[in-house]
Amino acid sequence: MAKKLNIKDKYRLLTRDLDWEFSYVDRKDAFPFEEFEGIKITDWSKWEDPFRLTMDSYWKYQAEKEKKLYAIFDAFSQNNGHLNVSDPRYVNALKLFLTGVSPLEYQAYQGFAHVGRQFGGVGARVACQMQAIDELRHVQTQIHAMSHYNKFFDGFQDYSHMHDRVWYLSVPKSFFNDARAAGPFEFMVAIGFSFEYVLTNLLFVPFMSGAAHNGDMATVTFGFSAQSDEARHMTLGLEVIKFLLEQHEDNVPIVQKWIDKWFWRGTRLLTIVAMMMDYMLPNKVMSWKEAWEVYFEEAGGSLFKDLARYGIKMPKYAETIEKEKEHVSHQAWWIFYTHGHAAGFHTWIPSDEELDWLSEKYPDTFDKYYRPRWELAKEMEAKGERFYTKALPQLCTTCQIPMGFTEMDDPTQVCYRDSVYNGDRYHFCSDGCKDIFDDEPEKYVQSWLPVHQIFQGNCGGPGVENVLSDFYRMNLGEDNMDMKGSPDEKRWKQWKGVA
């Protein structure tokens, strides 16, 4: 009997040996995107894939993951698993997940399929192709998992249409559009490294642990199943960075610039996750601040110490980012609470126990800056005057988030920055977002800013209600408004037999 190949030999035969010498095509024509970003690759054979996963093992293990996952989906659905969640408010986090995050998995698939074709090195191509297939699996399993909730709760029905149009969903959508519109190496630093290595951990690890803690068997299972692929994506992201930095010293400043940009873009995007952790999980696992300290500061700190030998520094604005962990979840949930009539999910005032938990977890900021807002909101609600803002918010041109973040050294002052380009003034929520614009204004002047588009008449109308119902396809009075009095809440009480 032939001796079984060891991992290294198998990887060499089934990956590296798939490449061939080009006899009648110029390599530059075959890989046309490889040079324009200024990245210099001298030897693709130096690429190392630490996991050395080959396609045959890939299919074997992925098939096993899928079988486990779908067995649980079946059990969840057959046993009316939605009735076991801690509190119906929790389901709103899933609505945000399906409309805001799952379509990003599809964009990641498109992005990795593209770079998986465009890299000149076969090791990188195979790893990116595997990741592309993973991302397609993630979007499919997420849609399957949440299709069960769609039978019983409002707000899940048109996630793909909403992702392309709804004001707050332009934040995640434009993030990935930005990465995919960049060259292949910037895409890898943006998504493969910055996003996968440091930032997705914050979504898929503590939030999914939170899903488990709130009785949502389906979500924790797809989350951890997806994350089992992420561990491989993370090693790919780290390998890309090390490879680029080792190939040529001229790559170092280019990579540093992309790290600065994408860590800032990523922390802005994760504001949504911050608020999901602190405000949308009725049973708490850890605060956003605690999760940030473990997965960003501690894990990211070790990572950047490791990369220091190449001359790579911590991302620019790391100090601002450190201060923001005390504030962003509160500022973001307040934005959604006050725009709750225009959101495709329900919002609410935290319960007294939750307010106390927030006070305990954020001793330096919550009582001082944020609790008084909720006390006021409670008073207004008690008088029958639940607050909804009448205005449409100004958006940051770069991250597209409403301009609600404050100066970190003065949390009572909203942060405004602006730049003039070709005679027009553009607005930003932060120095980070302004710098990104100033570096590539010709890219960001093309941003599809939802509020601008509404005012320009490109989203139907004339009123906001028409935009919400006709252009966004929200079912008004069902998908939006406060949790209190919502059809979701009424149905839940019926199922549970409470008045």
Binding site: I7, P50, R52, Y61, Q227, S228, T235, A299, S302, R309
Partner: protein, 89 residues
């Protein structure tokens, strides 16, 4: 010294893997969280195939780790007999 970490789904297979990691890395800290187990360690953390096989009482391929893995931090070194994590400082 920087900490490396690995997180596994909390299930019957991981239980043996965690036992093996604890035995081979006595300095490691094991943290139980809802549905997951996180293991942290200063310096280098190693998963040895042989120890896991011993705990499970069956053959175990090092790449089977992928089935229960949630996340990890550190540079990965993998061969047929072990997987280890470390940071360069």
């Amino acid at each position: 010294m920087s900490k490396v970490y690995i997180a596994l789904q909390d299930n019957d297979e991981s239980r043996y893997i965690v036992e093996a990691i604890e035995e081979d890395n006595p300095e490691a800290t094991v943290i139980h969280m809802p549905a997951m187990i996180r293991i942290e360690m200063d310096g280098r953390l190693t998963v040895l195939r042989e120890t896991v096989e011993d705990k499970m009482g069956r053959d175990w391929d090092i790449q089977e780790l992928h089935l229960n893995l949630i996340t990890l931090g550190g540079n990965v070194e993998e061969d047929d007999d072990s997987l280890s994590l470390h940071w360069n400082e």
